[in-house]
Symmetry: D2
């Protein structure tokens, strides 16, 4: 079976993303351990959550850049630009 | 002189964006009038600023969608995909 | 008539915010002038919109800091903490 | 030893946050499983990352609301408003 109209995530990027997400997971586990502590300070939790969010944003950047480079710039040639632009705007649009 | 490597904002979108930005400008002027008042409440100002930011975000969505549709999906054919992806990531990247 | 339960924006901050917003308005007018040009590049517009958004965000920071400092940290003493927290969360909550 | 100047995360909120973060962790693990697949589509990954980011943002909202309610509105009474406002702005400020 062919995934996603034949457009799949670049292998190298996939490996990089996997590695980064493992680190995000480790970070979330770190915050979970903080929360087992009886005396955790709100602001310390907020700082960690913000850092996790930042790391997640950078993972997204990797995937987005790879998608632009490998699938979006060639969309007109393939003839699926309507779908490509629509689904991308769904993700990128302001809130 | 040829602007921007021959890639210019779609005329119809340009008109729509201009109209929306005029409304954003009017909104900013409204907040400025609020601030001439001696008794303005912080939260009312914050609400208005958030609304202006939202309107600005929607203007950006219009321009972004038009750029994707008219210039990004054809970048590989033109051969300028490196530049197109680079400058787009500069704008879209997570903070 | 007493505005906003007697809680008004600090005068000095109000002046600073007014000055910054005038600059935001000038920036929006600059983008409007760009859009009168027949050959404007999408990415140049997007960059300007992002800069305006950033300036707007900094205005918000000034107002927020002033609100926290002058009204939020004293809410329990006044007894209006329920309202103060509710309206602040409405503005700060994640999307 | 007294944590965080005696200001600790409300116990009930702490339990709710822990539960939500466990779910975020599960979600990240789900994306990691997606990435073991040979044929994963960029846009599907981006959608999942956006959903994880949204869930994380809601966790942050819980902690922030609890912090406002339990520590910020009483800061002036305790006399630590300078620190409280400073560290909060560090987290909330526009980028």
């Amino acid at each position: 079976m062919i995934c996603c109209h034949g457009l799949k995530l670049d292998e190298e990027v996939q490996e990089d993303v996997r590695r980064r997400l493992l680190s995000v997971k480790g970070h979330v586990e770190g915050v979970l351990r903080m929360l087992e502590n009886d005396h955790v300070y709100c602001v310390d939790v907020l700082k960690q959550l913000k850092a996790v969010g930042g790391a997640l944003g950078k993972v997204g950047d990797q995937v987005l850049q790879s998608h632009l480079r490998n699938h979006v710039v060639t969309a007109h040639e393939r003839g699926d630009e309507e779908r490509i632009v629509g689904e991308l705007m769904e993700i990128l649009k302001y809130r």
